[in-house]
């Protein structure tokens, strides 16, 4: 009877394709929006996650997220280095200078100042040049998107110059840094140069990044640092999540995306559910005949569930394919780089579609179960 169920389903091509594509678009919309949302939220921690050398971030106790910092004292670095279990600890500066090209085009940017001696935190994915050239004076490494923003329609080229706070800086490398939350150029330079490019303040130490000594976990190290120095210490992962949570709690982003996702789910459920229910109603006489012939309610329930799940599975597969194609296309565009279809979003969407299918089939099953087979005898 599975064969009969599937033939009944595909017999009405208009409804069948309508059902499949309703679920496919619902799938696409859910996966698309949840993935974009998650990826955008992840961008709030891009510059943290790009620092692969360190595993611990030390900051002012009231610093909540990457973009807004309260500078530490230079002596704090010594204090952190004195905590047992610290393998190494170095300075990291973050500023937002305005960079200007010789043609006058300018953009506010993220400028990250790396420890002069070690260059810990340098971008490891380079498209052109080398981060080691940062040892040269007045040098910066800029991300590709920032380069394109400042030098639109020009090929990637090194040794071009920018002006920052009356300082002429030379581009010695172009990196594939992760996209920041705000679409600003991301530049790396040495700490000593960065504080000049931005402009001197009394204290300028944004973060201390550190790595634990062998035998000490990052988690243990953060606890020790907090206890000994009263500074805030977070692992890379914790600090990244702090940023995400800050934006979730303090911006309208989750509401906007939440509304879109909820509407997509409701519309998908309603359209799919209604179409499937109508499909069942249109076939009620046939179901009645099957009941009269001697097909049990259990078997009919199985048939309807098979119909619902097969159309759900096909729609989900097509929708996921559409989603994958979408992200594959836009993955290679600068503005949407690194925005990928997340497997977690696919899983969540799958669960939602499963829910939609269950609801749609339950309504139909109920209709068939309460059907009196004798009704098929009514002309």
């Amino acid at each position: 009877m599975n064969f009969v169920a599937l033939r009944m389903l595909t017999g009405d091509r208009a409804k069948y394709f309508g059902l499949v594509f309703a679920i496919a678009f619902c799938t696409f919309l859910l996966e698309n929006q949840t993935s974009i949302f998650a990826n955008i939220m992840k961008r709030t921690a891009s510059q943290i996650l790009d620092v692969t050398d360190a595993e611990v971030w030390v900051m002012d106790p009231r610093t909540e997220y990457w973009d807004q910092t309260k500078a530490l004292k230079d002596t704090d670095l010594t204090r952190v280095r004195g905590v047992p279990g610290v393998g190494w600890a170095v300075r990291l500066f973050k500023g937002n200078p305005v960079a200007r090209t010789s043609t006058g085009k300018f953009a506010a940017s993220f400028l990250i100042g790396l420890d002069d001696a070690t260059l810990a935190g340098a971008p490891r994915r380079m498209l052109l040049g080398s981060w080691e050239r940062l040892r040269e004076p007045d040098s910066v490494v800029i991300d590709q998107a920032g380069y394109v923003l400042l030098f639109p329609k020009e090929p990637l080229r090194l040794d071009r110059t920018l002006e920052m706070n009356d300082h002429s800086v030379r581009i010695v490398g172009i990196s594939d840094a992760s996209a920041p939350f705000a679409s600003l150029p991301v530049m790396h330079t040495r700490y000593s140069e960065a504080v000049n490019f931005v402009g001197r303040e009394r204290t300028q130490l944004s973060f201390i990044i550190a790595r634990a000594a062998p035998g000490v976990t990052a988690q243990e190290l953060t606890a020790r640092i907090q206890k000994q120095t009263s500074l805030r210490a977070r692992t890379t992962r914790e600090f990244a999540w702090d940023c995400v949570r800050y934006y979730l709690a303090n911006t309208g982003i989750p509401v906007n995306f939440g509304i879109t996702i909820t509407v997509a789910l409701i519309v998908g459920a309603v359209v799919a559910g209604q179409t499937f229910y109508l499909f069942t109603v249109d076939n009620l006489k046939q179901f009645g005949a099957l009941k009269a012939i001697g097909v049990s309610n259990l078997r009919l329930t199985g048939m309807i569930l098979l119909q619902a799940f097969s159309v759900g599975a096909l729609g989900f597969a097509i929708g996921t394919g559409m989603g994958a194609a979408f992200f594959e296309i836009f993955l290679h565009k600068l503005a949407t780089r690194h925005i990928v279809l997340l497997w977690q979003c696919v899983g969540i969407t799958g669960a939602c579609i499963f829910f939609v299918v269950i609801v749609a089939s339950l309504l139909s099953i109920r209709r068939v179960l309460v059907l009196e087979p004798a009704a098929v005898f009514q002309g």
Binding site: M8, L9, T10, Q286, S296, E372, A374, G379
Partner: protein
């Protein structure tokens, strides 16, 4: 509001006979048919179908009993539009878990006997009314039921087609170990019956057998 659809029915369908239930619209013919087929419950009287009292069976067992022992021919055919003629005929076998290949082979063989060999792969929408009713008849017979119930099998057909369907019913459905019950108000086909039970207002008012049929029906 209580409506007594059947209020005095004493009906017997015998093996090897084509038994008609006749009467005006609303007299309870189809209701009686549904009661016999186990599709409607009754709240009085005795019912014995093939030596089995349906009251003694659970709901699930009644479904199985119906699947094994009854075949149905509906007035509106009620073929599944998405299935071919052979696939429609195979439905009772598929419901009985017969493997699909075997079910289709048996269906095609039966359709061939009923003169529809070349139409076995056609969808119902491509068949004439008479052909659809023959497919419906094949569906009712494919699983070798002991009872075949037909509800107004010629109502949707012209006279000539109706006659051919009834001829087929009489020749293919009626067997020594099978009873065929036909509900109809089409007097033109009465001559096919071995017995006619006349119903009126929920009662069987007259039963006629064999030679006196046509006069009794009129």
């Amino acid at each position: 509001m209580r409506i007594d659809a059947l209020r005095g029915v004493d009906f017997e369908a015998r093996f090897g006979e084509l038994s008609f239930l006749v009467g005006p619209s609303g007299c309870g013919k189809t209701t009686l048919l549904c009661v016999i087929a186990g599709l409607l419950d009754r709240n009085g009287g005795d019912l014995n179908v093939l030596g089995q009292k349906p009251d003694d069976l659970s709901a699930a067992d009644r479904v199985v009993f119906r699947r094994r022992n009854l075949g149905f021919v509906f007035q509106q055919y009620n073929l599944l539009p998405a299935l071919t003629a052979a696939e429609n005929v195979a439905v009772p076998l598929l419901a009985a878990e017969v493997p699909r290949r075997e079910a289709l082979d048996r269906s095609k063989a039966l359709l061939s006997r009923l003169g529809l060999e070349k139409r076995s792969d056609a969808l119902p929408s491509k068949l004439s009314g008479g052909q659809q009713q023959r497919v419906a008849l094949a569906r009712a017979l494919v699983h070798e039921p002991r009872i075949v119930v037909c509800d107004e099998p010629t109502a949707a057909l012209d006279h000539a087609t109706g006659e051919s369907v009834m001829d087929l019913l009489a020749s293919s459905a009626v067997k020594p170990d099978r009873a065929v019950v036909v509900v109809t108000h089409d007097a033109r086909v009465f001559h096919h019956a071995q017995s006619i039970a006349q119903m009126d207002d929920g009662r069987i008012v007259k039963v006629s057998r064999n030679s006196s049929l046509k006069e009794a029906a009129l």
